[in-house]
Amino acid sequence: MLRRRLNLLGRAVCDMLATLDPEADRIVLHASRHGDGERTLEMLYGLNEGEPLSPARFGLSVHNATAGVYSIASGNRRSQQAIAASGGEWAALIAEASGYLADGQPSLLLVFGDQPVPQRFAAYAPASLSAAVALRVGSQPTEGARRLVETMTPAGGTTLQPLDVIDWLMGSHQRIACPISQRGWQLESLRS
C-alpha cells in the first residue's frame, strides 16, 4: 500500500533494499544530491497560487522521504541517515559507513540515488539521469564480497553520480573518483 507514495526511483530503492536485507534489520544510509526537486517545486508553485498543500506530498518532500517510507513498509526500525553533500555524496556515504563499521556494526545498507533537477534549475546543476544503486557493506569478509580500497585523488573532473557507481560496479572501469572530496575507490578481490 505504501508503494503508491513513491516515485519510480523510490520503488526501485525499496526493491533493492528488500533484496539486500530480507530481514529488514540493518542501518540504512541514503544519499541523494537533489532528492525529489520536482515535487518540492510543484508545492512551491501551489503555495504561490494560494492553493492548500497536499499532506501526502508535503510529507514526501523531505530528504529522508524514501528511507522513511521504506522503514515503515519493511518494519525496519534501525537508524537511518539521509545525506546530501553538494556532489560529494558517494564519498560522504563511504565516510559514514566507515564510521558505523568502525563502531562495531557488522553490516549496513548504502543507497545512492538521484534524478534530474527540475528544468527551472537545470542550468545550475550537472545533467543527471534517474538512477539509484544500493549496496550491502560489512566489516567481515563474506562469500562473493570484494574489498573497497580508498585512495587520495587530485581535485578536478566531473561530479560522481549514481550511474557512474553502477558502471564501476559492473566492471566498466577499475576506479571511480569523487573529485570534490579528493577520494578515489577501487574494488579488490578478497583473496589477493
Partner: protein, 88 residues
C-alpha cells in the same frame, strides 16, 4: 443495497486522490472500514481526504477527532457527511 451515485463519485475521488493504483470502485465495500482494516488507509490519507472534501464539496471538518472518526468510518458514513454538509 445498490451503490448510490454519490458513493460511486466518492469512490472515484478516494482512488484518484490517494493514488490507489490497484483498487477499482468495485473493490471498495461501502460498509467496510476505510482506515487500518478494510481499505487500509492511514492518517496521511485522512488528511488528504479532508483536503479533497474541502476542495470538491466545500466541507471543512472540525479538528475534533471523535466526529472525524465517525465521518471517516466507511464509505456510507462519508457519503452521509457529504450529503448533509456539502456547500457545492
Amino acid at each position: 443495497m445498490t451503490t448510490t451515485a454519490l458513493e460511486h463519485e466518492l469512490k472515484q475521488m478516494i482512488i484518484e486522490t490517494l493514488e490507489l493504483e490497484d483498487v477499482t470502485p468495485d473493490d471498495i465495500d461501502p460498509e467496510e472500514p476505510l482506515f487500518v482494516e478494510g481499505l487500509g488507509l492511514d492518517s496521511i490519507d485522512a488528511l488528504e481526504l479532508g483536503l479533497a472534501l474541502q476542495k470538491r464539496y466545500g466541507i471543512t471538518l472540525e479538528s475534533e477527532a471523535e466526529s472525524s472518526r465517525q465521518h471517516f468510518a466507511n464509505l456510507k458514513s462519508l457519503a452521509a457527511l457529504v450529503e448533509s454538509r456539502r456547500q457545492k
